[in-house]
Symmetry: C2
Subunit: 134 residues, 2 copies
C-alpha cells in the first residue's frame, strides 16, 4: 500500500527552499499531496502574494516529486484531507514546530528543517534592498 504524505504552503516566488522541503517530504513515502493556499485564504490570514494562486499551484503540480495538489481554503481542512486521502505522514517546515501536534491523533506529524538562508520573505527583502539601492 502506498504511503501518503501531506503538506501545505503558499509557495510564492518558487525557490530552492520550497523544492528541498517538498523533496524531503516525498522521501518519507511514496505519494506526496500538496495543499496550496488560495488567494482568499491568504487574504484572510493577512498575507499578500506576488504570484496568483493559479500560477502557484500550477508550478507545484509540475514538479516531479509532487503527485497531487489541492487548494487550501481554510485551517479546518487539514484533518478532513488526512482522513479523505489516507495520509500516513503530515509534514511541515520546522518554522511551524508544534503548531499541528493536534493532528497526531490522525497520523504521524513531522517538522522538517528548512533550507538555511532562503524563504519567500527573505527573497522579497533581498529584492527590496536591490530596488532601493538601484
Amino acid at each position: 500500500m502506498k504511503k501518503v504524505i501531506l503538506t501545505y504552503g503558499t509557495f510564492d516566488l518558487f525557490h530552492i527552499g520550497h523544492l528541498n522541503l517538498l523533496r524531503n517530504l516525498k522521501s518519507l513515502g511514496d505519494y506526496l499531496i500538496v495543499g496550496v493556499s488560495t488567494d482568499a485564504f491568504n487574504a484572510q490570514k493577512g498575507k499578500r502574494t506576488v504570484i496568483s494562486f493559479e500560477e502557484r499551484i500550477d508550478i507545484v503540480q509540475s514538479l516531479k516529486c509532487v503527485d497531487l495538489t489541492l487548494p487550501e481554503h481554510c485551517w479546518e481542512q487539514k484533518a478532513r484531507d488526512i482522513t479523505e486521502h489516507g495520509v500516513s505522514v503530515f509534514g511541515m517546515g520546522d518554522d511551524w514546530q508544534g503548531h499541528f501536534d493536534g493532528l497526531k491523533a490522525l497520523c504521524e506529524v513531522v517538522y522538517l528543517p528548512r533550507t538555511a538562508g532562503i524563504s519567500s520573505s527573505a527573497l522579497k527583502h533581498c529584492l527590496r534592498e536591490i530596488a532601493l539601492a538601484g
Copy 2:
C-alpha cells in the same frame, strides 16, 4: 526513435512563463533538454541574477516536463549540443525571433510565443514597485 528538443535560458526567479514555455517545447517531442546559463556566462553577458546557477538548474531539473539539464557556458555551445544529443528541434521564446536561424543547417528551429505579462524582468520591476511603495 525519440524526438529530442533543446532550449536554453537563465530561469531566474522561476515563474509561470518559464513553465509554460518548457511545457510547450516538450509537447513538440519526447525528450526535453534544457541548457541553463551559468553565473559566469551571465556575467559575461552583463546579466545579474537573483538566484544562483546551482539553484536555478536544480529547479528546472525538478520539473516533470524536463528530461535533462546541462550548464550553458558560451554562445558557441549550441551547435555542439545539437549534434552531440541528436536534437530534432531547437526552440526558444519568440523574444529571440530570428536570432538562431543559423542553426537551421543542423535541425528545425522554432520560436514559441511567451506568456503575456510575465518575465523575470517584469517580476523584478513589479517587486521594485512594491518595495518603493512600501
